[in-house]
Subunit: 388 residues, 2 copies
């Protein structure tokens, strides 16, 4: 047994639990910072630990292309390579192959694609992805999935789902190591009947955990949440549920309320490098002239390293001058904010006050305008080249 | 008395001493990391302290343009603004005005220039530069100097020197605070008679310390060292001597041998961000394929944070992927290398073994080829825009 449920909220599907891994216990709900290339951007492992983070995400697609799986295996595995002795989840890279790489051809056998780094051609199968992840040695590993775009047709999404199911089965069969938890990825796009079908099929195979993939890709938030509800309804209560690519403070709370245990997203670290700081009232941008002479920290009662040591004016100055220290300090603040949020969520569930906590948080927190958010996301999809 | 000589090498002009400042004692010879904009690039104050660094340099020119002197004064001064409670030396920015800004007009009164950031026009006088540095509140402050190019004619260099002398006198007269040590800057280019004249004139005015400016700007190394010798010969033994803009490990050792107490340079941190790591055998570039699978640290017996925790292969990987963590880890290594070097130099002088230490270090350390070095320097002069 590698997941233990501890408490369920009486008013929602929110729950607390514990993931038991070879690299320590991970309390849930948990948010995984993204370290696609084997580093949480700008931070040392010690800094990530100091943020009370028990598990990080790395990406098989990125590490396969650079430095190569064999290099990391030769160095004693991913934990040793990146000097991180707590838990790691490796994503299979299915999503990256279908979004970041130039996709050449997908067949039942596998997928032929070109590297986004050097254009080299690669053929990947479900069996290879498991072999790679066994070499990397993460605590939780993911099946290879085919991830359609959020606005693809029913037929396209159905085909991708069916292939994802076959691949999940092949991943399961090819697994050799007994010390890694393999999670399936539920697809089905924005079609409720496909989500149900995917959840039912994959749970019938029996995985250690279930991820919800193919969401938060540009569809409206209400659709994301509806699909989460529709999927969770067909998942076993005793297995961990992982909502991939989410996210923002408000989305995490909504996900928890719908029964999600695990989240990951590059958002907190990515927006930090653009000068956006999370506050209890929403995101603020440190580049705003209002901060140029503010002697207080960005969030006065925040006890993160950044807010304990530096004024908003100093951060404003570092961002104006493109000082690399700026990106670190913002990253520390945002991950600290999310880490605090997860602690508060857990404690509220344990105390039976989660619904009140959620209502209160959402009443104060002004989400970034959805239209702006979607535009930023599209812009990011088009421009990204730094491995997140 | 703010400088105490402790020991002089019997075979050279090398010496150890102590600078007494309002923010602690600074043992000499000392190297100051550069934090032009109020941050040692990529590092937190805690990290700089952990490298056993007792004083950093910040730049009045940069801080005047951004965020503005009044902002920093309003925040309680530079120490508080940048959260650094050890000693600070502020350069006057003379060199930056004459190299980085678009110079509009220099007169005996002062200098009119355009900001390298936004093209705005500014008129600066010696009195203003002292006023700015009194507002910033550094422990050691510098006079405004006119810094000619290394290949300027004798007449041009002589005129700049004469103006530097007048300005130094005006700086001295306008100083109000009694708790800051004001250092003069000796100019005179590559002309021995001017160097002597400048040293004799400025020492006759009586400053707390003497800097040698206008060197390491593109002239050959043997010329730099000859000018250092020619200048030090006319400086009082009981005052600290500061060689501005130097530098590399080999140049620091040669400077110490010629009686220099204080050094500053962006070189160790700048080359770090390009992947160059100091080793006892010379600089190596982590981008070299030889490091792609090296399980050992870059410098196996180095006990810096970077070498204690990460393989050369991981650093190679981080640099390949443009991970910001790479720049931090390289910066820590290079500053740790220089910090160790300064400790070894002091201990060798105290033990009377400095000459042997110097010969041994230089026999092993292969300096970067001078031609390449000068080309890199020229390239950097042309391209820099990040405040170092």
């Amino acid at each position: 047994m590698d997941f233990k449920l501890i408490q369920i909220c009486p008013d929602s599907k929110a729950r607390t639990g514990e993931l038991v891994t070879p690299h320590g216990m991970v309390p849930t709900p948990v948010f995984l910072p993204v370290g696609s290339q084997g580093a949480v951007k700008t931070l040392t492992p010690e800094e990530v630990k100091a943020l009370d983070i028990a598990m990080v995400l790395a990406n098989t697609y990125h590490l396969y292309l650079r430095p190569g799986i064999a290099v990391i295996e030769g160095m004693g595995g991913l934990h040793k390579f990146m000097a991180w002795d707590r838990a790691i989840l490796t994503d299979s890279g299915g999503y990256q192959i279908f979004s970041l790489a130039s996709l050449r051809r997908v067949s039942d056998e596998g997928v032929l694609f070109r590297s986004h780094i050097d254009g080299s051609e690669h053929f990947i199968t479900p069996e290879l992805i498991i072999q790679f992840q066994e070499s990397l040695g993460a605590d939780i590993i993911m099946v290879l999935d085919e991830c359609p775009a959020y606005d693809d047709s029913f037929e396209k999404v159905q085909t991708a789902m069916a292939r994802t199911h076959q691949w999940a089965e092949r991943c399961q069969k090819s697994q050799k190591r007994g010390d890694q938890a393999l999670y399936a990825i539920i697809q089905g796009g924005v079609f409720p009947q496909l989500r149900r079908q995917s959840a039912e099929y994959l749970t019938s195979l029996g995985f250690s955990g279930y991820a919800i993939g193919g969401l938060s890709l540009g569809e409206p938030k209400r659709v994301t949440l509806a699909m989460v509800e529709q999927t969770v309804a067909f998942l076993p209560p005793d297995k961990p549920r992982y909502l991939m690519g989410v996210g923002s403070p408000e989305d995490i709370i909504e996900g928890v309320a719908r029964g999600i245990d695990i989240f990951d997203s590059a958002l907190p670290t990515r927006v930090a490098r653009n000068g956006a700081f999370f506050t209890p009232l929403g995101r603020v941008n440190i580049g705003n002239a209002a901060y140029s002479q503010m002697e207080q920290p960005v969030v006065p009662d925040c006890d993160c390293y950044t807010c304990r040591n530096f004024s908003a004016a100093y951060l404003h100055h570092l961002f104006s001058g493109d000082e690399l220290l700026a990106y670190r300090l913002a990253t520390i603040h945002n991950l600290s904010f999310i880490s605090d949020l997860m602690r508060q969520i857990k404690s509220a569930i344990l105390n039976g006050t989660f619904s009140a906590f959620k209502d209160n948080f959402l009443a104060n927190y002004k989400p970034t305008d959805e239209q702006i958010r979607l535009e930023q996301k599209q812009k990011w999809f088009k421009s990204r080249n730094r491995g997140e």
